[in-house]
Amino acid sequence: MKAKNLARNIVIYALLLTAAVIFLAPIAIILINSVKGNFYISDAPFSLPDKDTFVGIQNFIKGFTQSDFMKSFATSAFITTASVLGIVIMTSMTAWYIVRVKNRFTKVLYYLFVFSMIVPFQMVMYTMTYYAFELHLNNPVGIIFIYLGFGSGLSVFMFTGFIKSIPAEIEEAAVIDGCSPIKTFFLVIFPILKPTAITVAILNAMWIWNDYLLPYLVLGSGENKTLPVAVQMALTGGYGNKDMGALMAMLVLTILPIIIFYLFCQKYIIKGVVAGAVKG
């Protein structure tokens, strides 16, 4: 029995290791190519760097200085942080109001939010871009407002699901003590919402950080471009003579922060993504 188990375990580990190698290979290939010279990337993407092709961190220096990588990185970081903060605070407040004030208006509003979750972006892509330009929201600050609108569906849905399970007595005690609704919300309700708030924050952060089409249409590919737009422009734009080395370095620099973030907050990210999947 024991020998049989050992054989079984060896087979399982062998299978898992093979799968792990396949899963890591694409990232490894990008890493390897990011330290190779320009001409050896497209021509021989799978060969390891040797003394002729190894260029050290030269690609990374070019990636940082030539393209406006740093600027796009900062733009993306600003938009993501501000939008996630805005979404978490505003939609949790909205969700609380929808649950506690029961009338026809809040009911319709709730169903509209749920409805918006199933509408694909292409449906509103053209018209939304038009209104964004008309209302001068086509800048890194204005786009935060648009993300609040697009993120509100899932976020309100997730917050209302949780708030329904909070007994109203808790809040009533606070009101009797003379707290205003705003104070009650931030001192009593919001702390209880923390687990859901983390989930909502992670889901929205992953979406906004990686989002391409919305910022491409609203902010364009000029000075306000976000990181995914910058990557797409750098890798497809222009004719010939692409600096492949710098582009590989750019890909590495784009992935690296996500992977580091993931390794540190893995527990929350996996939990959040699964919760979002099961509810959405």
Partner: protein, 284 residues
């Protein structure tokens, strides 16, 4: 509470509502209306009835092609992703050590954005095809299978996590009882494990289904240069922003009509999903 809270409508509801109206509700309603018009810009449209809907099925050949391609891609992706993800989940729930490291590795691609994913795989696939002196635009099949591989790489780990949770929820005595009754491991898998994880199968099937059906970023980055491998979302985008031949207003009207059809299909999938989940809840 309700009375006091109502006075604070402008604080609690108004910002979210305004953003929601401007970025979703109004564009959605205008979008539906504009699908029955020819328009250069949103506020300059001419009513044409259902002309656009007729044209996207007759004049413009790309729509049906990309719809068919999307259906094929979705079916292949849903099957491959779920089979492999379920298999990995089974391997990771055998009580072995160090399985957490594998979970971490398998889930990681899910966090990388579609554009970056597309370019990573573009380098790899073109690198491999380079040995044969061609690239991904050479044959539409290359683009199709490239996209399937990319989608598998991205979503297997995500689905695997959901399957692991489903398998771990199965009460242990069920497997033990089956073993006592003399069931082989394969019988236990078919008659105990799989029926018990059916709720996870429903979730994963629909998640992969909608994700594959709505795919855009990966498609643009990997197959942007090969028009015959445009899925629906990319075809709609190209109808709006990247076209030749007809007048601008006609393209916009057709693009919007395509978007409405696209929305109706996605809504239908969501509706079926809702019913499937509800039914299951009644059964248990």
């Amino acid at each position: 509470m309700q009375k006091a809270l109502k006075k604070f409508f402008p604080v609690f509801i108004l910002p979210t509502l305004a953003a929601f109206l401007i970025s979703f509700v109004i564009p959605f309603i205008t979008g539906v209306y504009l699908s029955f018009t020819e328009f250069k810009v949103v506020n300059d449209s001419k009513w044409v009835g259902i002309d656009n809907y007729i044209k996207i099925f007759t004049t413009d050949k790309t729509f049906l092609d990309s719809l068919w391609l999307t259906v094929k891609f979705t079916v292949v992706s849903v099957i491959t992703i779920n089979v492999i993800a379920f298999f990995l989940a089974l391997l990771l729930t055998k009580g072995l050590k160090a399985t957490n490291i594998f979970r971490t590795v398998f889930f990681m691609p899910n966090l990388i954005g579609g554009i970056v994913l597309g370019h990573i795989w573009s380098l790899i696939i073109n690198g491999i095809l380079g040995f044969f002196g061609v690239d991904i635009t050479y044959n539409p099949d290359y683009g199709f299978w490239g996209l399937v591989i990319l989608m598998n790489w991205q979503l297997i780990g995500y689905m695997m996590i959901i399957y692991i949770a489903g398998i771990q929820n199965i009460p242990e005595y069920l497997g033990e009882a089956a073993a006592i009754d003399g069931a082989s491991p394969l019988q236990t898998l078919l008659h105990v494990t799989i029926p018990m994880v059916m709720p996870s199968v429903t979730i994963c099937a629909f998640l992969t289904l909608t994700n594959s059906f709505k795919l855009f970023d990966q498609n643009l980055a990997l197959n942007g240069k090969a028009p015959e491998t445009s899925l629906l979302a990319l075809d709609i985008f190209k109808t709006f922003y990247d076209h030749t031949g007809l007048k601008l207003a006609q393209w916009h009207g057709m693009g919007q009509a395509k978007a409405v059809i696209f929305f109706l299909i996605v809504a239908l999938i969501a509706f079926i999903q809702l019913r499937a989940t509800r039914q299951r809840e009644v059964e248990h």
